[in-house]
């Protein structure tokens, strides 16, 4: 059995979530918008799921909009709000280390005449709240900052930034997708108007997420064609998904287990980072202390991250370069570049993210495999190549 250490990419579906979903995939298959009994039964599941999610966030059920996942949640929050507020201004502030769902939503708005400010981060990936304040203009309508980074785990000063936005009466979106399993989402403390969530990052099913939309926050729907989700997201609802999401979120957000898991995973993670550093030519990326407890990220000299991930996989250890992309693209991570790491070093990135079922034994075994694979890859720089000119422009001058 392999060792799965890529929980920032996705997590296993927990059985409580699966069991809660099953009735909605079998007997309660109705369309929640239907008038009849089948529809009402499905609607009940959806309403209960919405209530559960709202209760975890100390929000109102009507403030929860279910989506197809985190990417849609980010797109809806950014574009939906930007367009809704566009008569007041067309300037958005975000950071250079956001998820592509945020960055590319912003890039699309840029093509439509919006102005976007991408704030820099420091070497640990932190955004300076003062820089947010300084970037605000009379045209600014929205600030979007992630609670915790998906590649390096750095936790941002969300409450400070939220304060600034509130005092300047500017909308504030927080992508809390990676943070949600570990961090209580304090909507009032953060003063957030929009918060993105994803189910499969916290042991729920794939294909479902949500946006918290604070009451009174304007939002233009991205999907047209129905009045579902209070006219903010057309389309027949993924009832089973929402039910599974709610159950998984409730279990993940339980304060006692959240705190103890943060302690447990944090201490394993520290051991892991120390072990990785001992390999030599390994540098931590992300903040030393302000980081998600399950996240260890490093850059390793003399290797390609993608090669190391493949090598580890064949030895039964599943890790990542930083984001889940399997197509062999060599574009260096925009997050690492923004942190001032050069492209060559960034090519050697490795991200190891722990989960609720990760054991110390697994961490120790994974360390052994990673160390062995790094050694093998570093040794492979010796070429087999027979040196030959690629083309001939003439005989040698000898």
């Amino acid at each position: 059995m392999g060792i799965y250490l890529d929980h920032a990419a996705t997590t296993p579906l927990r059985h409580e979530s699966l069991e809660a979903m099953l009735p909605y995939l079998t007997e309660h298959w109705g369309n929640p918008s239907s008038i009849h009994a089948s529809g009402r039964r499905a609607r009940q599941g959806l309403d209960e799921a919405r209530e559960t999610v709202a209760a975890i966030l100390h929000a109102k059920p009507r403030e929860i909009v279910f989506t197809s996942g985190g990417t849609e949640a980010d797109n809806l929050a950014i574009s939906g709000y930007a367009w809704a507020a566009s008569s007041r201004g067309r300037h958005i502030i975000t950071t250079s280390v956001e998820h592509k769902a945020v960055l590319q939503a912003c890039a699309l708005l840029e093509r439509h005449g919006f102005e976007i400010t991408y704030l820099p981060v420091d070497g640990d990936g932190l955004v300076d709240p003062d820089a947010v304040a300084a970037a605000i203009t009379e045209h600014t309508t929205l600030v979007s900052v992630m609670a915790a980074n998906n590649e390096v785990g750095t936790v941002q000063p969300i409450a400070e930034i939220g304060n600034i936005c509130r005092s300047r009466r500017i909308g504030f979106h927080v992508d809390a997708i990676q943070a949600a399993p570990f961090t209580p989402i304090a909507l009032d403390g953060w003063q957030a108007d929009l918060v993105s969530l994803s189910a499969h990052k916290l042991e729920g099913p794939k294909g479902v997420g949500a946006v918290f939309v604070r009451q009174g926050t304007p939002l233009v729907p991205l999907l047209q064609g129905g009045s579902q989700e209070r006219q903010r997201r057309a389309g027949t609802e993924n009832v089973a998904g929402a039910v599974g999401f709610a159950v998984a979120f409730a279990l993940a957000a339980d304060p006692a287990t959240q705190a103890s898991e943060a302690m447990r995973q944090g201490s394993l993670r520290d051991e892991l980072l120390a072990g990785l550093a001992a390999i030599g030519g390994v540098r931590r990326t992300g903040h030393p202390t302000r980081r998600l407890p399950n996240s260890a990220s490093v850059v390793i000299d003399g290797i390609q991250g993608g090669d190391l991930v493949a090598a580890c996989d064949l030895e039964g250890v599943e890790v990542s370069t930083g984001s889940a992309c399997t197509t062999g693209s060599v574009e260096p991570s925009h997050v690492l570049l923004a942190m001032g790491i050069d492209a060559d070093a960034a090519a050697g990135s490795l991200r190891v993210t722990l989960g609720r079922e990760t054991t110390r034994d697994e961490i120790l075994r994974a360390l052994g495999v990673i160390e062995r694979c790094v050694g093998r890859l570093r040794n492979a720089s010796g070429a087999i190549r027979v040196e030959q000119p690629a083309t001939v422009s003439g005989a040698p001058s000898a």
Binding site: A107, T327, S329, V330, L377, V386, A390, T391, V392, P396
Partner: protein, 370 residues
């Protein structure tokens, strides 16, 4: 347990080669062999989305390779070789034209990508002992020496592109299709229900999709073409060309000269931006100097030996006498003349079915100057 990397291009040949190693039916393969499918990303591909340049969407070939790997039940990875492919294959291709020579992209890809990047990096990355490819060629061992042999299917034989391989590379290489005919390979692909079974043969150069390399010269090297003279053997101007690098020796089409008989490019002179043409018989040569020599066995058979030579893919073999010159060159002499030996193209030597090695045809002026 041993592990073999199956290089998968997404085409029918490499799919069947992967299937053969995955099923343990390849020649001489230990039963306890694990197979890992690897598709090499050689150049960034523009996808279908309108922001495709920055996306990580995989091209169709990778999709096909991944589906085949799934059906075979083997792990599948993408190995990025963009950097090496860009400089050692694509740029080298452009530079050959700019030097008035004819490039060998398939051979360069074998030499620098499949049997270097993949072999070296791949073996380390995937912890493998060998790489299997879909080439039509055979490898055998005679004493302590590995031999590269022509494929059983003479029509498909690819040794012309493999003469650059060394003993070390051959030792770590498997050619599961070497004993098979193409028709059998297609039938096997159909039997295995591989999605690639009906894929048409790829004929064109993978990074020159429309067969028009002129655009590539401009893109990679800023060569837009500068019109200049087309002259005959006597030096008389008979026409105008669009830029010397747009022409290769042996080319007949696109010359736009009317001399009442078929004429061919005989020589390309970068220094004076001149293209020299000649009648068919004027392009024959019974002596060719070859540089950058390499012998598969490591050592040449002798200072002077008899062999047969092939100067382009699928050209007939011509019996010849080979004489080594200096450390790097050899001279090939034939009784029957070779037609249009093109500088830059490989001259590959055979002893019967065995590929002995080869080198690249040198420019006549460079030989004279040496």
């Amino acid at each position: 347990m041993s592990r073999i990397v199956a290089a998968m291009s997404g085409g029918v040949d490499s799919s069947v080669a992967a299937a053969l190693v995955a099923r343990g039916t390849a020649d001489g393969q230990a039963s306890e062999t694990e197979v890992v499918g690897v598709w090499m990303r050689t150049h960034p591909e523009t996808g279908e989305g309108w922001e495709s340049r920055r996306s990580c969407c995989s091209p169709e070939a990778a999709d096909d390779a991944r589906r085949v790997a799934q059906l075979l039940g083997i792990p599948f990875f993408v190995l990025n070789v963009e950097r090496a492919f860009g400089s050692l294959v694509i740029d080298a291709f452009a530079d050959a034209y700019l030097a008035g020579a004819t490039p060998n992209p398939c051979q360069a890809c074998n030499q620098y990508i499949k049997f270097d990047e993949l072999l070296r990096r791949g073996l380390a990355t995937y912890g493998a002992d060998a790489v299997a490819t879909g080439h039509y060629a055979r490898i055998d061992r005679q004493g302590d020496r590995w031999r590269l042999l022509r494929a059983a299917d003479g029509d498909k034989d690819q040794t012309y592109f493999l003469w650059v391989l060394s003993q070390e590379q051959l030792a770590a290489t498997r050619f599961p299709l070497g004993e098979l005919h193409k028709t059998r390979v297609r039938a096997m692909a159909a039997e295995l229900r591989l999605p690639t079974a009906d894929k048409p043969e790829s004929q064109e150069i993978c990074f020159v999709p429309a067969g028009d390399y002129r655009t590539l010269l401009d893109e990679r090297r800023g060569y837009a073409g500068d019109p200049g003279p087309i002259v005959d053997a006597a030096g008389t101007r008979v026409g105008t060309h669009t830029g010397y690098a747009h022409y290769t020796v042996g080319q007949r089409h696109g010359l736009d000269v009317a001399l009442g008989e078929a004429v061919y490019v005989r020589e390309v002179r970068p220094a004076t931006n001149t293209v020299v043409i000649g009648r068919r018989e004027e392009l024959a040569a019974s002596q060719v100097t070859v540089s950058g020599r390499h012998f598969v066995g490591g050592e040449p058979p002798a200072e002077r030996f008899e062999a047969s030579v092939r100067i382009r893919h699928r050209a007939p073999d011509v019996p010849c006498e080979v004489t080594l010159v200096g450390d790097d060159r050899f001279v090939v002499e034939t009784a029957d003349p070779l037609w249009a030996p093109a500088p830059g193209q490989a001259a590959v030597l055979y002893d019967g079915d065995e590929c002995l090695g080869g080198g690249r045809i040198a420019r006549a002026d460079a030989v004279a100057a040496a």
